[in-house]
Every structure is written in C-alpha cells, then in structure tokens.
Amino acid sequence: MGPEVQIHQAKSGLPVLIVRGCATASSVDPMAEAERWFKQIEPQVRDLPETARVGVLGLGSGYHLEVLSREVKHQIIAFDSDPALAAAREWFVGRFPSHVSLKFVSVEAGAASFFADDDVRTFISNRIVLLRHKPSFLRDQRGLTALGNWLTGRDRSSLNAHLQSRADFSALLDCDRQNGEWLLSVKDVSRLWKVEAEVSEQRRMFRILEELVR
C-alpha cells in the first residue's frame, strides 16, 4: 500500500482509503456519496453516442467508479496524479468491469509524456466527457487541475496535442507552425470560433458556434 495510505472503515461498514491523513471518500457512507455524485453528473453522461469516452479525474476510494461503470457502458478512463494512490493500485484491482481503465499520471513528467500515451491520444481524438470526483480533486488540486487542463485542451501545451489528434481542426487554422507545433495560446482558442467563412463544412460549423458565443 505505501506508507502514506491507510484503510479505515466508514460508519456504513465500507472501507475508505486515507491518504496522508485525508479521507478520499465519505467516512459516513461512501457508496451513498457516490450515488449522489452520479445523480449530479448524470445529465452529462446519458444519451452519449457509442464512440464517446468518459474521463474521470480522481480515483478516490473507487466507489464513484463502481457506480459510474454500473450505469454507463462507454469506455471509462480514470486518472489520478497522486503517487500515493499509484502505490496503492492493488486496492483497485478487480473492482471494476472491463470497460474501465485506470491511468496513474505524474504531472512532474510533463504534458509531453502524457500525450505520448496511446490511450490518451485516442481518448482526446474522440468525443470526451470529463467528470471530476470532488473529494480527490479538492485534496490534490494542483495535479488534477493540470490533468484536467491537459484533457480539456485548455492549456497551451495540451492545445497543440489536441490539434495534432484532430486533423479536422488543425486544417482550419491558418497560423504559424514551427517544428510541428502551432504557435497558439489559450486566448487563440477564441480564434477557432471566428474562422472566416470558406467552403468547408467545418467552417460553417464554426460560424454556428460563433453565433452561440456572441
């Protein structure tokens, strides 16, 4: 398990992981907490197309993943950046059905290594829905925030990775490219919604998106 991780019993009788003295799920009834979390995020995951993938930030004690994988049959990838949880990975083994996979990511290793991962590249090139497991997120904000930004494409380094995975968008941008990287900042994202009208279908789609952000 590792020195930083302990297991305590919640009042409902279920085990909860304690990392560096902080509970990763409710110490009263973690399963009920997971059900409540699912009710909150349910609108985001109902009626997803088959190719959509669901990303979850934060492993917590795994109960939210149990509920989610029961309700949602799409590919689910759960991420966490806490090395203490990576050391306790056996806690999670065998608990989830086959359409759930876990990714332990070190933010210190940087975005480049993150986006070099095949699963991650496939994940972001398809329709993704990103969910957050609140308790873990609050506990390890820095790491999970970085992960979240990388996965949503909302920081500079991840933006390029996303564009490399989505040929339909990169084809639209008439901006400088050096060594395979677009010179874009997050602010440049707004340019994506203001692309001048051309013949292509994608550009017409962007005109619609532009009307929606007016």
Partner: protein, 579 residues
C-alpha cells in the same frame, strides 16, 4: 416526403408557426413532418400538433461547453456535429426555416435537402430565402409598423400563400390538449364559481417595460366584479411566479369582499395553461407567450401592447381579438432599450376603466367593430389606440377602432393589401383573375374600418387617391428610364451620383403627399446605402423601383375596383369573431 421545420426561437414564435404547420399537414397528409426546437422548450412537445416528431436542438449544452473552461475544448463542436449528422441521416426532402436568424441560416445550410425555404446560408455565405414571403420578412425590419404583416401570416403565406379565399374555421383550436393539462385544469375548475364567467389574467411578461402593473390589474378586477356576478378570475403564472401571484390574489381577496368573486391562483404547466384557456371566457394579458397560446386557442384576448410590443408584427392574430396600445410617441420602443421616461407612461396611459369596458363589451359580443360599441368607447379615443383584429382579407389586420376616413388612413389600409398581393405575385400564386376576389375582400375591410362613411364619400376619396398615384407613377417611370440609361456605365461615379440625386429628388416629391410618403421609404434605403459596390447599389435601386411600381399598379387596380363596389352590400358579412 420528409419535411423538417426549424424554429429555434421562443414559445411565442413557435406557436406563431402553428397555422403553417397545420397547412403543411393538410397539404401533405402522409408526409413525415419533424419540428426542430431548442431543448429548453421541450415542455411544448405535448401542445404542438400536426407534426410527427419534435426534435430538440441542445443549444444550452453547446453554449455551456464553449464558454466553460472545465469542458473539453472541442466538445461543443462535437455536440453540434452529432446534431447535424443526426439530422442528415433523416434524408429530408424539404427544410423550412421559420427562425430567420444567422445561427439557423448556417445550420439549415448544413442540413441536406432537395428544397430549402427560409433564411439559408450556403457554403460561401451567400443567402437564399426560397420564397418571396421570407424575403419580405427580411425586408420588413425596415417597414413602418403600421404596414407590417404579422409573422404568423408571413409563415402561413410561405407555406400556402394568401390568394385563396380564407377558410374561417382554419384557425380554430390549433393547439393540442394533453391528459396532464386537462387534469391540472379540472383541479382549478373545481374552485370556480358555477354559472359565472371565467376571466384569465396574465400579470407578468418577460420584459418589465411590457408590464401593465399589478395595481391596474387589481383595479380591473374590482370593476369587472361589480359588473359580472359570480366572476371567477384565474391568475395565471409559472412556478417561479408563485409568490407574486399569491400576493396579488390575497390583496384582491382582502380588498374586495363586497362581490361574489373567486380569485384563484393558477400556477400551471404550459399544458395546463392550454386547457385552462380553452375552458375560459376571456384573457387579459401583455405581450407574452400566454398571449400567443391564446391566439392559437379559441379564447378571446384583450392584449395590452406596451413597451417594445409590436401590434402589427407580433400582436395577437386571431379574428376578434383586441389590442390596446399607448398613444405615447415613444411606443413601441426598442427591445433592448431601457425606458428613458420619468415613469412608465405607456402603461399609465391605459386606464383600468378602458380595459374593463373592452372586456365587458367583448364578452357581450364578438362584434366590437359594430357602431354601438365604437360610440360607447369613443370617450377613450384620446387616451389609447384600440385595434380589433380582422381577417376578412386573409392575413390578420388590426383595424383601428377610432380611425377616421382620411387620405393617410385609406392609404395605409391599401398599402398593406398591396404589399401582400405584391409578395403573392412574386411567388406566382396571384394572377389577374385573383384581383376580383382581392377587391371584394378589401371592400369588406374598408366598410368595417370606415363604417360611418357614405358610399359616395368612399368612392370620392378613392378616386382622389387614384389621381395621386398616377402622379407617382410618372415620377417612378422617369427614374426607371434614367437608371436604364446608366446601366451600361454604372462604373462611372458621375453618372451614379446623378441617379442618386434623382432618387433623392423623387423621394422628396413623394414625401410631399401624405399618401405617397410610404413609397419614399423604399427609396430611402437605397439612397442611404453608401457601402455597397456601384453595381450592387444600382441593382438595389432597380429592385426598389420595380417593387414600388408593382405596388402602385396594385393600389391603382384596387382603387378602381373599389370605386365600382357597393359597400352597403357587405352589411351581412361585416363582423366576425370566434366566441
């Protein structure tokens, strides 16, 4: 056949398309007709008939995804692509876009179909309208309110045209009731007084400027209570208006114990509102979605058209309905403008006494245009504009209750008719043979409008009108000839300048006549356009003059035809109304 109708606006706008949807269904009984609306109005599904499916455009989800930093970057795009791909899988033969905004234009451009009607942008951004009525809707933004055609009639015109004799029962009960709505209504009716009239009030509007004020509504109820024994008043509202409605009802009950009146809060769903309106005797409302629902139902309406509400474009469109508006010079004001007056003068100018009188008389009879009612209401002529919706010509025409026979009033009436006929001619649905019927219907409206005038006076003013029009005809012909000479040399700035000067001069001369000043509007748009390229500007001038000449020709024909009519022969067809 598969038809997709697109309406991505609000409840009232969706209801306004019901007559067109009904026409599509009647003309294509076996077609698959789908309606695309914003998902935030999914609760309307139950009340919209004539369609096989109501599809939802998840505007909110896409917008949220675009602006929320925690959502994946391309999620909005992917959501939109799913929507477009899903619609394209349906294989539509025809798309009709009733939304008329840029978003819908781009969206309809992406959906594949053999025919497209309404505003559509193609891949190069070029716009098409597919039907002259949609082009008219686009141009109507520049038209004086009094000549504007109601949006629901523009949509029906695009669906079916207006050349045929209007079917009087076509507009009866366009809404569908649901079991849930009926159940909600029945629960309310249990508290209603037996054998008494039922009045529905809609207090709130989406815009403060359009509100009449709870105090004035209370004063209205006091007046009506003393007139109608066993009056039941349903105060309608949405769940977020519960507090206001309860306070209103409690105040009323506390201050009016002398009469046997039931004041009932009616916080219901849209479906419940539909059923309640069908079971009640009259509605008093501002410009609200409830007003539009009621226009599609059989209940008579007294509409308080305040703030930015537009009597002609978006007022009630049911025959017999009454629209009251202020005489304040700033009305109607702009949609997004704040009221700049010291107080809400347009609402203050409509006294409860007037509204009560209108309600009482409308409940007694649908024939508010009848002589006895007009005489009794004339005392209010200085305070407010009162219009009664008439459908003798086909499209809804709010006839002013107190209008006198003047050049301008006659010209205004004929101008509206001419605009409708002009659009129908461009659509190929109106021929020379249809003028007889159009003249007959115009004569009915003329008699309803100017009921007090003799046949002789009417014919005399029509002949004077025709003479003025002949003068304008000459002016326009000269202008047209001058433009024809310039056509080959439109790049020459000097020649173009001469043409503009001639347009300005013609415009000034037309403005000198009260009845020809409408024609000067079309020239104003061309004169003031200094951004278009010379060829485009010249093209716009030619189009404007062609349209003006067409309308002049139509009005001259109407005048000549009307001069030969015997107006008194329409006595028996004078008045109509639903209940």
């Amino acid at each position: 056949m598969r038809i997709l109708v697109v309406n991505l606006l609000r409840i009232g706008d969706i209801i306004s398309t019901l007559p067109a949807l009904k026409k599509f269904r009647l003309d294509h009984p076996t077609a698959q007709i789908d309606l695309l609306i914003n998902s935030s109005f999914a609760h309307m599904v139950g009340v919209v008939g004539y369609v096989d499916r109501v599809l939802l455009f998840d505007r909110d989800a896409i917008q949220k995804s675009l602006v929320d930093a925690e959502r994946p970057l391309f999620e909005g795009y992917d959501l939109l692509k799913e929507t477009v791909d899903g619609l394209n899988e349906q294989g539509y033969d025809r798309i009709v876009n009733f939304t008329h905004n840029r978003l819908s234009g781009w969206l309809c451009g992406l959906i594949q179909a053999g025919e497209k009607h309404g505003l559509v942008f193609d891949g190069t951004g070029a716009v098409s309208f597919g039907d002259p009525w949609f082009r008219f809707l686009n141009a109507q933004v520049d038209i004086d309110s009094g000549h504007a055609i109601n949006h629901s009639d523009i949509f029906l015109g695009a669906a079916a045209g207006w050349s045929a004799e209007p079917n009087r029962t076509f507009f009866d009960s366009l809404l569908s009731e649901t079991d849930r709505g009926r159940a909600e209504c029945e629960a309310l009716l249990r508290s209603a007084l037996v054998d008494g009239p039922r009045l529905v009030l809609q207090l709130s509007t989406s815009d403060q400027k359009k509100e009449w004020g709870d105090d004035r509504f209370r004063a209205l109820v006091h007046r009506l209570s003393s007139h109608f024994p066993k009056l039941t008043v349903f105060v309608l509202g949405a769940p977020n208006e519960v507090k206001r409605i309860r306070m209103f009802c409690e105040d009323l009950n506390a201050t009016d114990s002398a009469h046997e009146t039931a004041i009932i809060p009616a916080v219901v769903s849209l479906e419940g509102a539909v059923s309640l309106l069908e079971e009640s005797d009259i509605l008093v409302t501002g410009d609200t979605s409830i007003k539009h629902l009621a226009a599609a139902a059989s209940i008579p309406i007294v509409e308080l058209s305040l703030g930015s509400a537009d009597v002609f474009r978006t007022g009630s469109w049911k025959a017999g309905d009454i629209i009251v508006s202020s005489k304040e010079p700033c009305a109607p004001c702009g949609h997004s403008e704040l009221c700049h007056r010291a107080s809400h003068l347009c609402a203050e100018g409509l006294p409860a006494e007037l509204i009560a009188e209108l309600v009482i008389r409308r409940m007694q009879s649908p024939q508010l245009l009848a002589r006895e009612h007009r005489e009794a209401l004339r005392q209010f002529a200085k305070l407010a504009e009162v219009h009664v919706v008439d459908r003798s010509e086909g499209p809804a025409h709010p006839l002013p209750l107190f209008a006198e026979l003047t050049d301008v009033n006659l010209a205004s009436l004929l101008e509206r008719t001419a605009r409708c006929i002009s659009v129908e001619m461009q659509s190929g649905r109106f021929s020379e043979f249809d003028f007889g019927s159009a003249i007959r219907r115009a004569a009915i409206v003329l008699r309803k409008q100017f009921f007090d005038e003799s046949d002789t006076d009417l014919r005399h003013i029509l002949s004077l009108h025709e003479r003025e029009l002949r003068h304008a005809e000459g002016l326009l012909q000269s202008l047209r000839l001058q433009i024809a000479r310039v056509k080959e040399n439109y790049q020459d700035p000097g020649q173009l300048k001469d043409v503009i000067r001639s347009c300005i001069s013609t415009q000034k001369r037309l403005r000198q006549s009260a009845i020809l000043s409408f024609a000067s509007e079309a020239l104003a748009a061309v004169v003031e356009d200094d951004r278009s390229a010379p060829f485009t500007r010249l093209r716009k001038m030619i189009d404007a003059i062609e349209e003006l000449e067409r309308r002049q020709m139509i009005v001259v024909k109407l005048c000549r035809g009307l001069e030969t009519q015997t107006f008194d022969s329409f006595e028996s067809e004078r008045f109509e109304g639903n209940k």
